[in-house]
Amino acid sequence: MKPQFVFDAGPLITSCKFNVKGRVVIDLFLDVCDIVIAPSVRNEVVIAGVRYADAKVAKDRLEDQKIRVAEPATDNALDAILALYDFGSGERESMLLVSESKESQFVLVVDDHLAYLACDRLQIPKCFLLDLVVRFCREKRIDTLTGRDIITTIASRYPHPFVQHTLLMLDRGGGD
């Protein structure tokens, strides 16, 4: 069974924008994991898919059911906490989705500083997109060379130290 990840809008946009070895990064991920998104993230993809090429990549994968949409259950207590941070609806629903499904091993992929910190405090499993690549290399789902290519390709979306740290992680046993 493939591992399951809930992608917040940021990592989804990054994964749909960049190409490695002639393939969109999202497709490299879809080879080795299941990607789930929240309804609000899906709605944004549908709106933006008309206008932006990268959003169309996501829209096509939604239509082909390669990316799945899951509805989060109601959790008023958690929702009240998330409301304190005034997150966007996509972030809020993505966190609710992962929080309710701890047994199903959902992990939230999120690149936003505030959302990451809130997840940490709420013990919601989460990782940066960079760390997802490291994990896939460690688990030998993606070879280290491809992992490095992905990281260097998406590097413009991250602070330099984060990128260099990730490359070092890959060099020091991240993968092959």
């Binding site: 946009i13 941070y85 966007g88």
Partner: protein
Amino acid sequence: MTLTIQLDKSIEAFITHQAHEQRISLETAATELVRVGFEVKLRELHQRYVRGEYSLGRLAKELGITTWELVHVLEEHRLQIHNLPLAV
């Protein structure tokens, strides 16, 4: 979008002056002022995002656009897309 709005006297005077000085129409001068105003507001909100006070979704919400549109707007304005901390 076409809007009809009532301007404050000082803004009206500024737009009239700009139009005269730059030899442009009042409409063009007003549009430029709105564009500059948006740019200032965008940078002000973006600063809050970069400082980690806002999430990407919150920034999009404040600007009345989707996160997908926001990322493209930030790219167009050459603004930092992530809000992760930078090492000094």
